[in-house]
Symmetry: C2
Subunit: 406 residues, 2 copies
């Protein structure tokens, strides 16, 4: 018996509306999942989650491992208890964060090696210039990744087994296998190597999870597919990960229009190779156009930092595209951030007010902007869901994009 | 017919519980009034006001005049509309801010004078060192105050008439006459001069307000009494301001234990000189002990920045005194910020979680801490009110202080 259950309610083409049942409640899909890296959605008070259409959030294993540590969270009674949220919780494996510490910045010569790793085993090392600039370093070997903390520079090591162990202590409803993330610009040979390593680590993650659970297991594990912009690799990755017995599939690497059509189409082609009805999560997908495109190809859940990252600097999603609310043009604009929006910010405040808050550097500006942006994306996925259920997703898709591009 | 109506419901000694009826609803007193300097309570979303026991907030004329300007707020339909709050609103006159720009930092030689002001007229000038350091400057003359903006260094002038004009455009339910604030350390002659000037300005403020209103006037004006730590001055100020026909009285200057017993007792003695039943506001009074003491002497409303200022750096009010939540001792403390507290933060989160948010520099830390602190003070005034209505205020007073000092 799987700890989660996914039921596809209706399809339109390969787009689908479904219900993902987890031990902490249902997620109606497609669904946008706000990022709660350090066990909080930046600036958003958990009692507002419901008003913002938030069904679930995704926390980060790397960050929570470093601070406050999985042992403390376990002592608190798990992540739900620790952060005061009783709904479904997802944790990312930390693979992407390790990627962004190391390979994400390029290759070079390592400054140190863990004792058991020989020079020959090192497949990804950090660019010295970047390392000296950021004080960051991550080394991937066949067994795992050794990295320095971005907080205090201390030395740490993640293996698939360790990532699973941490995520079990966190107690998320859904967690991800530890993967090796790649940049879309990396060459074929490197992508292939990383993909193969990701598959090996996926098996080890699954094994480690199964060794440690009993019949009452309440945690689902998703495998992550990689392969960069290469169609063959992507399809192979989906087939292999899809067959391993995971509870769901994570679309890894870089799935966004901004990485080019090849990369995008190859990523989306993965879905055709997966077992029928396996839930799919798009990792780091949070631009409205990308969510729409992902949903059109059968992606069920999406996470990403765009609503809060934009929100902190005054970038606001509207039906007609993104606006920068601190710009002078909004000084005397007494309309809501987005006409017709039913989020708490738009129900009570104007563009002029939020503009004023940003101009005078008030903490409430980022708070109100982030709330609006999150609602914008959860509402977008709600609209996608409803249009699929009503059989007019294609129409909604085209209408939304025609307006959004203006 | 006055725009506000104050009814004392019950007294215990000279402490009193009352209802202050304003055009935007009732304020049950004693009441703590959070500070919304720039038309927002820092980090607190207005839809949470009710849950935090907030009945009214106090905005700042000086800050709103500089940005976004009273004309823009008038265009928005007034301050209520602009900030999206439909309850009673109070505005401070800007006198204190001008004080903190100028005399608050000491005396010295002015770098400039407005054209119509001669050197001889200058009674308060700014310390050059402080001015060069902060780029701030304020000069008081008999007619008003000339000052440079803390935002862009531009030159501005407030007179009693101008302050009233701005506050009428803001449209607050209750506003304050423009006063000359003094530091408790200023000598007697200076306090006397400032008090007399404040009285002249009070008459001019009242006259300016009356000239500009019709029978539908919906704005009340409070006069502010000064006099520093000198009992004679304080009593004289209360008598004179009390007789002028204001709708209420503002306890000005420095009314807090931290300025010493003389200063405190003199300020509180003012209340015995006021007309029976005139509502009294304690300006800048927001330490729990000071609120309790003020209420014991018949102060009805209190404002101050302690809940948000402390909240931003992790200072937390509890029944047993203030704690610093970022301190290591709270890392594994899974109890609420304050045991038994019914604020949204304490209902959902632990000290360990808020500690974690501060340690990892998350925006939500200051938000949750500020919310708790505001509730702590609104709840304190609610408890004071209930104890007066129940006839056991003295008991509550002593019990609270005995515990708070631990």
């Amino acid at each position: 018996m799987r700890p989660i259950e996914f039921k596809v309610e209706k399809k339109e083409g390969i787009a689908r509306a479904g219900i993902l049942k987890t031990p902490h409640g249902e997620i109606k899909t497609p669904a946008f999942v706000p990022v709660a890296t350090k066990a909080d959605v930046k600036g958003v008070e958990p009692t507002k989650y419901k008003d913002l259409g938030i069904q679930t959030v995704i926390c980060n294993t790397y960050h929570l491992y470093l601070s406050p540590g999985e042992e403390l969270i376990a002592k608190a009674g798990g992540l739900h208890q620790f952060m005061g949220f009783d709904g479904p919780l997802i944790t990312d494996s930390g693979g992407f964060q390790v990627f962004s510490l190391g390979e994400g910045f390029g290759k070079g010569v390592s400054k140190f090696l863990p004792e058991h790793v020989s020079e020959d085993d090192v497949v990804t090392v950090y660019d010295e210039d970047v390392a000296s600039q950021h004080g960051k370093l991550a080394i991937v070997d066949e067994e795992g990744v050794t990295f320095t903390s971005h907080v205090d520079g201390s030395l740490h090591r993640f293996t698939p087994e360790r990532s699973v162990e941490i995520q079990q202590k966190l107690g998320s409803d859904i967690f991800f296998a530890f993967d090796q993330c790649t940049a879309p610009t990396s060459p074929f040979e490197f992508q292939k190597e990383a993909m193969e390593r990701t598959h090996t680590w996926a098996k080890r993650s699954l094994k480690a999870h199964r060794q440690n659970i009993d019949a009452n297991n309440k945690q689902a594990i998703y495998g992550i597919g990689q392969g960069g912009p290469y169609d063959d690799l992507r399809r192979q990755s989906a087939r292999e990960i899809g067959e391993m017995g995971f509870d769901g599939f994570g679309l890894g690497g870089s799935f966004s229009r901004k990485y080019g059509d090849n990369s995008l189409q190859s990523a989306l082609n993965m879905l055709t190779e997966l077992p029928e009805g396996m839930p799919v999560h798009g990792l780091g997908v949070s631009e409205p156009e990308d969510i729409l495109l992902g949903a059109a190809h059968g992606v069920d859940t999406f996470d990403g930092v765009t609503p809060t990252r934009n929100g902190r600097t005054g970038g606001i999603f509207t039906k007609r595209g993104k606006i920068q609310i601190p710009n002078a043009e909004f000084k005397e604009d007494f309309s809501p951030l987005d006409e017709g929006c039913e989020c708490p910010t738009c129900q009570h405040h104007t563009r002029a007010y939020v503009h004023h808050l940003f101009r005078t550097k008030e903490l409430l500006g980022p708070v109100l902007a982030s709330m609006h942006n999150i609602y914008f994306l959860t509402h977008l996925t709600t609209q996608i869901r409803e249009s699929i259920l009503n059989g007019n997703f294609n129409e909604f898709h085209d209408t939304f994009l025609a307006q959004y591009k203006q």
